[in-house]
C-alpha cells in the first residue's frame, strides 16, 4: 500500500499545457477513480504517475519520496492497459511471470507466485495458452495478473474495461472491486464511464480540460455537483439544466418560462443575475394532471428498469423518469414539478452556489413543499401566507 501526494502536477507538449497543476492526496489503500470526457487529461495524469510521461512541473510523491525522475519500474506501480498490452509471443504463464523474471526472482518462486495469482484470477487452466487463444475477459485477467504478481504499492488502471462487452464489463468491475478489497492496494482507475466510476470509487476525481472539476465520494459528487460540467457529466440521463435569473436573493425564475419561479434555498446574488437551475430527471415529479409546468412528452425511452420521458415546453426541454404505475404516452401533456430540495443552482460561470443552510435547516418542510409553483404560490410560500 502506498500513499501519494500530487502537488501542482503539470504537463505540457511543445509549450502547450494540457494538465494544469493537479493538487491532491491519495491515501493508503484508497480506490480513486479519475473520470472525465475524452481529452480531459485523465490518462495523461495516470501516465505521469506511472512514469510513462515526463512531469513538466510540480512534484509527485509516493510514500514521501519524490518520483519525478524515477524510472517507471522503480516507482512501485503496476499498470493495466486499455488494450491489455500482453506479450503476444509469450504464454499466460510467461506473461504473468515476466516482471518477476526481469527482477531476477528465482524460478521456483516465480512459478509459485504465478500459480497463486492464476488461481486467484481463475486462469489456472489457461497458463500454457497464448494471448491470441484467450477471450477478451481472460486477456484482461492476465493483464491484471501481471500487475498483481509484482505486489506493487499502487495499481494503475487505464480504462481497462472499455474493450469488453457490457456483461463482461460488469463482471470485471465486480472482480476488480473484490480484488481491491482483498489486496487493499492503493488503486487509481481511469475511465470515461460514469457507471464504472460511481460503482468502483472510494473517491472520485472528475476532470475537465486538464483541471480537477471536483473531488469527492461518488454520493457527494452526484448529490452536490460542484459545477454545471460535473452536474451534466455525472448521471444518465444527464441533469436538466435551465437558464434562469434571480428574482431576489432567495428566488429565481426560468428564462424560457416567465411565469414560473422557485424558492431555491441557496444564497443568491441580488435580482437580475443570470443563474443555471439544475434538477436530476429522477427528481422531477411528473403527473397527468394537477399543478406544475405544462409540457408535452416528445419521446419516451425504455431502459428496462425505468422509463425516461423527454418533455418540452417551447424552448425548454426537460428529461424526467416516469413512474411505473401510471401509463404515459408520447405527445401527451403532462405537468412537471421540481421539488425545491432537489434543485441545484449554479452561477454564470457554472460554479455551484452554496446552500443557505440557515434557510434549509429552519424551513426544510417548507422548502420541500415549495415545488415549482406559480408566482402567486411562490410568493405565498416566501411570505408564509400560504
Amino acid at each position: 500500500m502506498a500513499h501519494l501526494n500530487l502537488s501542482g502536477l503539470k504537463k505540457s507538449y511543445d509549450g502547450k499545457q494540457v494538465v494544469h497543476g493537479i493538487d491532491m492526496e491519495i491515501l493508503e489503500g484508497e480506490f480513486i477513480v479519475i473520470v472525465g470526457p475524452s481529452g480531459c487529461g485523465k490518462s495523461t495524469l495516470l501516465r505521469m504517475i506511472a512514469g510513462l510521461e515526463d512531469i513538466s512541473g510540480g512534484e509527485l510523491l509516493i510514500d514521501g519520496q519524490c518520483m519525478n525522475d524515477v524510472e517507471p519500474s522503480q516507482r512501485g506501480c503496476a499498470m493495466v492497459f486499455q488494450n491489455y498490452a500482453l506479450y503476444p509471443h509469450m504464454t499466460v504463464r510467461q506473461n504473468i511471470g515476466y516482471p518477476l523474471k526481469v527482477a531476477r526472482i528465482p524460478k521456483a518462486d516465480i512459478q509459485r507466485r504465478v500459480e497463486a495469482v492464476a488461481a486467484t484470477l481463475a486462469l489456472t487452466d489457461y497458463l500454457d495458452r497464448r494471448p491470441a487463444q484467450l477471450s477478451g475477459g481472460q486477456r484482461q485477467r492476465v493483464a491484471m495478473g501481471r500487475a498483481i504478481v509484482r505486489e506493487p504499492g499502487v495499481f494503475l488502471f487505464d480504462e481497462p474495461l472499455s474493450n469488453l462487452d457490457a456483461k463482461l464489463r460488469v463482471d470485471m468491475r465486480i472482480e476488480i472491486r473484490r480484488l481491491h478489497r482483498r489486496l487493499k492496494a492503493t488503486s487509481i482507475f481511469v475511465t470515461h464511464d460514469q457507471v464504472e466510476a460511481m460503482t468502483l470509487a472510494d473517491r472520485l476525481i472528475v476532470m475537465n480540460g486538464g483541471r480537477i472539476a471536483q473531488i469527492g465520494t461518488p454520493a457527494e459528487v452526484y448529490a452536490r455537483p460542484a459545477s454545471t460540467f460535473v452536474a451534466s457529466f455525472m448521471g444518465a440521463p444527464a441533469m436538466n439544466l435551465f437558464e434562469a435569473a434571480t428574482l431576489n436573493e432567495r428566488c429565481v425564475k426560468l428564462k424560457n418560462c416567465e411565469d414560473w419561479v422557485t424558492e431555491a434555498g441557496f444564497r443568491l446574488p441580488p435580482a437580475g443575475h443570470g443563474v443555471t437551475v439544475g434538477i436530476r430527471p429522477e427528481d422531477v415529479a411528473i403527473s397527468l394532471n394537477g399543478k406544475g409546468l405544462a409540457a408535452r412528452i416528445e419521446l419516451i425511452e425504455e431502459l428496462g428498469g425505468s422509463r425516461v420521458a423527454y418533455c418540452s415546453r417551447g424552448a425548454l426541454a426537460c428529461a424526467a423518469m416516469l413512474p411505473r404505475d401510471i401509463d404515459f404516452s408520447e405527445d401527451q401533456t403532462v405537468f412537471l414539478n421540481f421539488p425545491a430540495s432537489a434543485i441545484h443552482l449554479f452561477d454564470q460561470e457554472g460554479a455551484r452556489f452554496q446552500e443557505d443552510k440557515s434557510n434549509n435547516d429552519g424551513n426544510s418542510a417548507q422548502a420541500d413543499k415549495s415545488f415549482y409553483t406559480g408566482v402567486k404560490d411562490a410568493l405565498a410560500v416566501m411570505t408564509g401566507t400560504e
Binding site: A50, G51, L52, E71, P72, S73, C77, A78, M79, F81, Q82, N83, Y84, A85, L86, Y87, P88, H89, Y98, P99, V102, A103, R146, R150
Partner: protein, 288 residues
C-alpha cells in the same frame, strides 16, 4: 381483326457478373501454370544443358538424347568449386547476420529515441538504398585497397555490413508494434536492450525470416563486387568461379552450366525444403 401492338423494346444493360467458380478456378490455375513454366524454363535449360555432351550442346532439343556428367567432372577439376561454395556460404551468412543485426539496432534507435537530426539521418540512409552500386563502386574499392583487404573475404563482407532496406523495413515494422506492449515492458522493469530482444524481436519473426531470405539470396548471387576484388580462386566466391568458364577463347557452356547448377543447388534445396515457411514469412511480413 387483330391489332399488333408494338411493344417498346427496352434494353436492359447486361449485368456484369463474375465467372462461375467452376470456371474461375481452372482459369486462375491455367495462368499460374503458364507463369510458373516461364519462370522454371531457364532453370530447366541450365540443368539439361549441364547434362548434354559437348557436341550436343547447341542442338536445341528440349530433352537431351544422351545424358553425361562429363561437364560436372570437368568443372570440378577446372575450379575449386568446393572451397568457392564454402566461401560463398561464409560471405552470405556473415552479410545476412550483420545486415539483420545492424538493421534491428538502427531501426530500434530510430523508433525508440528522439535525437538531433534523426529524420535527416533516416532520409540520408534511405537515399543510400537508391544509390546504384556503380556510383559507390570506385570509392569503396579505393577504401578496401587502402585498407589492404583486396582479394579477401573480409572485403566482400565489409561494404555490406549494413543495409538501408533492412533498416527501413524493420523501422516500419517496429513503428506498427503496439506502443502499450513496450510501455508494459517498461513498467515490468525491462530496459531498452531487453525490450528489443525479448519483446520486439520475437514478434518480428516474419519480417526477419523474409529479410534473411532476401539478403541471403542477393548476397549469394552477388557477382560484380566479388569480380572487382577477387584475385585468386581460393578467395573467390562461386559466381566468380562460374565466370572463369568465359574466356577469351570462348565460353565453355557445358561446364558453365554444370557449375551454375552446383551454385544454385544449395538455394534450390533451401527453397524446396522451406517453401511453406518462406511463403508464410513473406505473407506475415507484408512483403510481396
Amino acid at each position: 381483326m387483330t391489332t399488333n401492338i408494338a411493344m417498346p423494346m427496352t434494353r436492359v444493360a447486361p449485368v456484369r457478373s463474375r465467372p462461375h467458380p467452376v470456371l474461375r478456378a481452372p482459369f486462375g490455375h491455367g495462368v499460374m501454370i503458364i507463369l510458373s513454366l516461364i519462370c522454371l524454363l531457364p532453370v530447366y535449360w541450365m540443368i539439361v544443358s549441364s547434362l548434354r555432351p559437348a557436341n550436343a550442346l547447341l542442338d536445341g532439343a528440349f530433352w537431351p538424347s544422351t545424358i553425361t556428367l562429363e561437364n560436372y567432372s570437368y568443372a570440378l577439376r577446372a575450379i575449386p568449386i568446393g572451397s568457392m561454395l564454402v566461401n560463398t556460404v561464409i560471405v552470405s551468412v556473415a552479410v545476412t547476420a550483420f545486415q539483420l543485426l545492424t538493421g534491428l539496432l538502427a531501426a530500434y534507435a530510430f523508433v525508440r529515441y528522439r535525437f538531433a537530426f534523426d529524420k535527416l539521418i533516416y532520409a540520408l540512409m534511405a537515399v543510400t538504398w537508391l544509390t546504384p552500386l556503380q556510383v559507390v563502386m570506385i570509392p569503396n574499392y579505393l577504401l578496401v585497397a587502402r585498407l589492404g583487404m583486396l582479394d579477401s573475404l573480409t572485403a566482400l563482407i565489409l561494404p555490406h555490413f549494413a543495409s538501408a532496406l533492412a533498416v527501413m523495413l524493420f523501422t516500419q515494422s517496429m513503428r506498427t508494434f503496439p506502443k502499450e506492449v513496450l510501455e508494459a515492458a517498461r513498467m515490468d522493469g525491462a530496459g531498452g536492450w531487453r525490450i528489443l530482444w525479448e519483446v520486439i524481436v520475437p514478434n518480428l519473426q516474419g519480417m526477419i525470416a523474409s529479410l534473411t531470405i532476401l539478403i541471403f539470396i542477393s548476397t549469394w548471387n552477388e557477382y560484380f563486387w566479388p569480380l572487382l576484388l577477387s584475385r585468386t580462386p581460393a578467395n573467390s566466391v562461386i559466381q566468380i568461379g562460374i565466370q572463369m568458364f568465359m574466356t577469351a577463347e570462348g565460353t565453355e557452356w557445358g561446364p558453365l552450366m554444370a557449375a551454375s547448377t552446383m551454385a544454385s543447388l544449395p538455394i534450390l534445396i533451401f527453397y524446396v525444403l522451406l517453401q511453406r515457411q518462406v511463403v508464410q514469412s513473406f505473407m506475415k511480413s507484408g512483403i510481396r
